[in-house]
């Protein structure tokens, strides 16, 4: 059975302020979804809530992974079930080397000890693939990394952990053109029948390398429009205004009724 993540009518709040108002999404293995939308509409919150960030409280709806609700699972349990979130702002942890951390994470996800030689070999391959500085795995986790290095490091973790649902929160910010190409290629290769990707972005540049299968527009904590690649060209030309106008109209008609 291929992987499936279903988000039903998701509502969430932070400090008594509701941010998500009933978002729906269905992602299956092999698909690449993109969520776009203006700033501050709840895209990152949506990603964090799926991951299980305790800052946010779910007040309605459900998140179902392969037929099983994960709403009651903690962050680490969700990660072990195969959900991965590449963060918009990865944390810095000094004193913990990158390779040590990734090894601990791989062991946690696989639920067994990993042989050091095999791990180092895999890590080496992944580092080469991402054209990263060879010393990067031995430096402290994100400590003194440039913005681009941090984002690449998130992708390195993704390659090593082999998750089922990959959520990339603005992975393209801070990456230069060449890095974008490398990262895009790595993401594309990661997708298979068991792996699905959800990309949250403002820029269409990365989508030149990772062709999405589904495009969604999020406005005011809700996914208001679903479509294919053609939606991207329209956003490129007209911005998000056409959707906002459309929404206002529908609100207006509702009120008249």
């Amino acid at each position: 059975m291929s992987t499936n993540l279903e988000i039903k009518n998701l509502q969430a709040k932070v400090n008594d302020k509701q941010i998500l108002f009933g978002a729906n999404l269905n992602i299956s293995g092999g698909e690449i979804h993109v969520i776009m939308g203006p700033n501050g509409t709840g895209k990152s919150t949506f990603a964090s809530v799926i991951m299980g960030d305790s800052h946010f409280t779910v007040i309605g709806g459900d998140i179902v992974l392969n037929g099983e609700s994960i709403l009651n699972n903690t962050v680490d349990e969700r990660a072990r079930k195969g959900i991965f979130l590449a963060m918009q702002y990865p944390m810095t942890v000094s004193g913990v080397t990158n390779s040590n951390f990734i090894k601990a994470a791989v062991q946690a996800v696989q639920g067994q000890t990993v042989s050091v030689t095999k791990f180092m070999k895999d890590l080496d391959i992944a580092v080469n693939k991402l054209e990263m500085d060879r010393n990067l795995p031995y430096r402290y986790l994100n400590d003194g990394f440039s913005g681009g290095e941090k984002k690449r490091n998130e992708i390195l973790q993704m390659l090593m952990l082999k998750p089922k649902i990959i959520i990339l929160d603005e992975i393209d910010s801070g990456l230069d053109v060449d890095a974008l190409k490398v990262v895009g290629k790595a993401i594309k290769e990661a997708v298979n029948l068991n792996t699905a990707v959800l990309i949250i972005t403002h820029y269409q540049k990365i989508l030149d390398y990772v062709k999405p299968t589904h495009v969604h527009i999020m406005i005011d904590g809700n996914i208001v429009l679903n479509g294919g690649v053609d939606l991207l060209t329209r956003i490129d030309k007209e911005g998000f205004d056409f959707i906002k106008i459309k929404q206002n109209k529908s609100h207006a008609t509702k009120k008249i009724k």
Binding site: M51, G52, D53, S54, T74, V75, D76, A79, R80, F84, L85, M87, P90, M91, V93, S94, G95, V96, N100, F101, I102, A104, A105, A108, V109, Y140, L141, Q157, L161
Partner: protein
């Protein structure tokens, strides 16, 4: 065999010190502490059989080379490398004691603990490294006890010598340990000294480390307080010659209801001297940590640099942490700085690590290991480094 320990001269000197204990004050930062009469409260004086412990120590340490194991003042293992021909080792078992030791016994005591040490002195280790001795292989010294211990250790480095020493202080059962270490670095010498203390529950340990660093000499001192008992530690380094350098790195871990009190002081007595203090502490349960850091630059000591950083993680709301950084500067042309940070583990960091599949406990463990890494990296004997990690994990109840 006649040894100094049994000589009437030694016994008389001890008696003189014992007479002065009552009139003397406690250590110099006593005002900040809860008034506890360490000596009467913890001193046991009962003697227990050491034969089983002896066997355990022999098994544990026989695989090491370049090691001295001292059990209640007697050398149990002395496995010195050939390179250590440049090192003179002296204990109370020797017939002719070192002149420094007699001087110490005759000198006037500054405080109660010093007088108590002299009055009950039962363990002595004097190490003297000869001029230009360069010793690559680190030396491991284990000081062990079951009963009450009054231990005096002296490390003397003559000119141009370069040495690495790790000292481990450990005990079995409950003991009252009063340990005094005196370091003297001559011109141009270089000492890397690691001290790891691990005493049992219900023991008490008072350590006093004093050092004189002369011109162009450098002291890199790393200290790990992994004691399961109450601790009072007094570190006092004097920079005596131009361009003298001292760096203190300290780890303090406390758990349960322990009290750990530390004074770290570096005093500048010469121009262009550099002193740095770095403290890392983790307080758990209902324990209490008190750290006082003092950087003192005396008048006329221009071009000196005094710096101190204290970072403390408090794992529970019930733990008490007091950190006081002091700078006493009596000269204009100097650099000085201090900083203290006390806080809980960063929840965002924990969330980040957990989002990769680590449990909360594993995430905390990794962050604390990272926090203590700068000190763990200073431990230059691999096996001891591993043991340090193991002890840290055990202490913090992972």
């Amino acid at each position: 065999m006649i040894n100094y320990k049994n000589s009437t001269d030694f016994l008389n000197l001890k008696k003189c010190s014992a007479d002065t204990i009552l009139d003397l004050p406690y250590v110099n930062f006593e005002n900040s502490l809860k008034k506890v009469d360490f000596i009467n409260k913890y001193s046991k004086k009962a003697s227990k059989n050491i034969s089983n412990y002896k066997k355990r120590l022999l098994i544990k340490y026989k695989k090491y080379t370049n090691i001295i194991v001292l059990l209640e003042g007697e050398i149990l293992l002395n496995n010195l490398d050939k390179t250590l021909v440049d090192c003179e080792v002296n204990t109370l078992q020797d017939n002719n004691p070192d002149t420094n030791l007699i001087e110490l016994l005759k000198s006037k005591s500054e405080n109660k603990m010093q007088a108590h040490l002299k009055a009950n002195l039962n363990s002595v280790l004097l190490l003297k490294f000869k001029k230009s001795a360069i010793i690559d292989t680190p030396l491991l010294i284990v000081v062990a006890t079951i009963n009450d211990l009054s231990h005096y250790m002296q490390i003397v480095l003559e000119q141009n010598s370069c040495v690495k020493i790790i000292e481990k202080l450990e005990n079995a059962g409950t003991s009252f340990i009063n340990a005094n270490t005196n370091i003297n670095l001559d011109e141009n010498s270089n000492l890397e000294y690691v001290r790891i203390e691990k005493s049992n529950k219900n023991s008490f340990i008072y350590s006093s480390i004093s050092g004189n660093v002369n011109a162009n000499a450098s002291l890199k001192y790393s200290y790990a307080d992994l004691n399961d008992s109450n601790v009072c530690c007094n570190t006092n380094i004097n920079l005596m010659g131009e361009l003298a350098y001292a760096d203190i790195n300290c780890v303090i871990l406390s758990a349960l209801k322990e009290q750990h009190m530390h004074l770290m002081q570096i005093e500048h007595f010469a121009k262009c001297t550099i002193g740095a203090i770095n403290n890392h502490a983790v307080a758990n349960d209902q324990s209490e940590i008190y750290i006082e850091g003092v950087g003192k630059i005396n008048k006329g000591m221009a071009g000196s640099d005094s710096n101190q950083q204290t970072k403390v993680i408090s794992l529970r709301d019930t733990a008490t942490v007091t950190a006081k950084p002091f700078l006493f500067i009596d000269e204009f042309d100097v650099k000085a700085g201090h900083g203290v940070a006390v806080g809980q583990l960063d929840q965002q960091e924990i969330y980040y690590l957990m989002s990769r599949g680590l449990t909360k406990e594993d995430a905390q463990k990794l962050i604390i290991q990272g926090f203590l890494k700068p000190i763990a990296d200073n431990i230059f004997i691999k096996e001891v480094g591993k043991e340090f990690k193991r002890l840290v994990e055990k202490k913090l109840n992972y």
